[in-house]
């Protein structure tokens, strides 16, 4: 395996993500998934606002960067207009679980056959580290300087588990962590294959390091992922019915 995916645009390197960013790592793995499935010329990559917009020119894959929370409906519209397209909607915790939550929920409910990849780094990173729906209780952020309190921000959201309750039979839903290369590649490929096979909606949440906003170095950020795993269990939350 090469150090860079074939589907990454070399002219756009070095990319704009921070040193040690788990989102960039997830995007690298997505690139390998696109390579291995051979869908570079069939895929459309839709990216949201926040750090995900930094990937607008990361791929040699037709790309549209949309408004906050709107990567999902844009990909839904495109998929309905062109069924052969492999529509990938990429976003962070805000785009999926806050401003775009109703789109995510309704897309899953309709079983729109798109693939959503959501980066969970437990904060709103691009704007400097505010509390996100995925921020852990007690975790500090710029809008919760003494740590997240349930009375103010509610509880952390368990996205994949929530989607499982409304998903159709053919849906694939999983959660992984970006520093587990093999599993993340497997899950993302399975999610995309679910779309290629026309079976249903697919969703992968990727726990990712954010050393800059977590104010941690590499070692500490990997350790914080372990804390996150205790709240957000990894695994295939739902596999399609009748899967071999």
């Amino acid at each position: 395996m090469n150090n860079l995916p074939k589907s990454w645009k070399k002219e756009s390197l070095p990319h704009k993500f921070c040193p040690g960013c788990g989102q960039a790592l997830a995007l690298k793995i997505l690139g390998y998934a696109i390579d291995e499935l051979g869908i570079q010329d069939k895929a459309v990559y839709g990216t949201d606002i926040g750090c995900s917009l930094l990937s607008w020119n990361m791929f040699d894959v037709d790309t549209i960067q949309t408004h906050h929370g709107r990567a999902t409906p844009t990909m839904v519209g495109l998929k309905h207009a062109k069924k052969e397209a492999i529509a990938i909607a990429f976003m962070g915790d805000g785009g999926g679980y806050a401003i775009g939550a109703q789109h995510l929920i309704n897309t899953c409910l309709r079983d729109d056959k798109i693939t959503v990849i959501l980066i969970n780094n437990a904060n709103y990173a691009m704007t400097g580290g505010q509390t996100a729906p995925t921020t852990l209780i007690g975790q500090k952020s710029t809008t919760a300087p003494k740590g997240r309190k349930i009375e103010v921000f509610g509880r952390p959201i368990h996205g994949p588990e929530m989607l499982k309750t409304i998903a159709a039979d053919g849906a694939y839903i999983a959660r992984t962590v970006s520093n587990d290369f093999e599993t993340t590649l497997t899950y993302i490929k399975k999610a995309l294959q679910n779309q290629i096979d026309g079976r249903g909606f697919s969703f992968v949440e990727v726990l990712s390091m954010c050393p800059v906003n977590w104010k941690k170095n590499a070692q500490e950020s990997i350790e914080f992922l372990e804390e996150m795993k205790k709240v957000y269990p990894l695994g295939e939350i739902k596999t399609p019915e009748g899967e071999k």
């Binding site: 993500f17 921070c18 040690g20 790592l25 691009m126 520093n179 050393p211 800059v212 590499a218």
Partner: protein, 270 residues
């Protein structure tokens, strides 16, 4: 009136320096404005700071021409050109900004101050405080602000990291003295050094890419054999490149997998 433009990579501390000076100026009863100008990225991408200090109130926070320009990285050079006029003092990191970039300023820049900030910081303190050397330099150049006041503002800025106080103050003093002494004042930049990219033996090859590496350190901690450490050589961002001890490396490829920037390539030979 002093119009100071600072330019560096996002994450190099440009905004911190500007804010420290603005607060110091305010403490000394001067009028000041400071405004950052940056793109969307949290890190990387040119970060500019517009700082103005005057006796009378200042209206507009930006300016088209600068009295002093600080350039801390290669990408800053293009961004600052339009601010240069005859009286501008151009202060730059000669150990990190490439000579061929500096050459593009010959004829444009009339006054300059060359300081190898990253080199000094790395050798004597830590590369993390390279920006503080510039603070010391500016303390000397801005005659109307006292060094003591700037130091107080600096320590206040970093009060959540008291462990750095001593190092910051040393870096400040080095910068201040350098501006006083002004040794080696040629208008040159750093020469490209041949950085070893490929490390190989009979069984494996380990390649690093300084043009992609951001020095995050994930490769170090992902190595089961602890074969990777930080070297003294710098990547394009000016932070340390990793290096490998081939005797310990088993070519498992973990470092290649975990690098978010694709900056390491591991090949097992047949």
């Amino acid at each position: 009136m002093k119009r100071i433009l600072l330019a560096g990579e996002g994450g190099q501390g440009v905004q911190s320096i500007a804010e420290i000076l603005a607060r110091a100026a305010n403490e000394q009863g001067k009028e000041t404005t400071y405004i950052p100008n940056f793109g969307v990225e949290q890190r990387g991408g040119v970060s500019l700071a517009y700082l103005q200090i005057d006796e009378k109130p200042i209206g507009y926070p930006k300016f088209a021409e600068a009295d002093i320009i600080i350039a801390m990285c290669n990408r800053a050079i293009e961004a600052i050109k339009k601010f240069v006029q005859d009286e501008t003092l151009f202060i730059y990191d000669s150990s990190f900004i490439a000579d061929d970039k500096i050459k593009t300023l010959h004829g444009l820049v009339k006054k300059y101050l060359n300081i190898p900030a990253k080199q000094i910081a790395q050798k004597e303190l830590s590369i993390k405080v390279a920006n503080i050397l510039f603070l010391g330099v500016l303390a000397h150049e801005l005659g109307n602000l006292t060094s003591e006041q700037i130091k107080i503002a600096m320590n206040n800025q970093f009060k959540s990291h008291p462990e750095f106080k001593e190092m910051n103050e040393k870096a400040f003093d080095i910068g201040l003295n350098y501006a006083k002494e002004r040794p080696n004042q040629e208008f040159i930049g750093s020469q490209p050094t041949e950085i070893q990219k490929l490390f190989e033996d009979e069984t494996k090859a380990w390649e690093r890419f300084p043009e992609y590496c951001k020095g995050c350190g994930l490769c170090l901690i992902s190595c089961p054999q602890k074969a990777i450490t930080f070297s003294d050589e710098l990547n394009f961002l000016g932070t340390n490149l990793p290096k490998v001890d081939l005797n310990k490396c088993i070519a498992c490829g973990n470092c290649q997998k975990i690098c978010p920037d694709g900056a390491i390539k591991v090949t097992k030979k047949q």
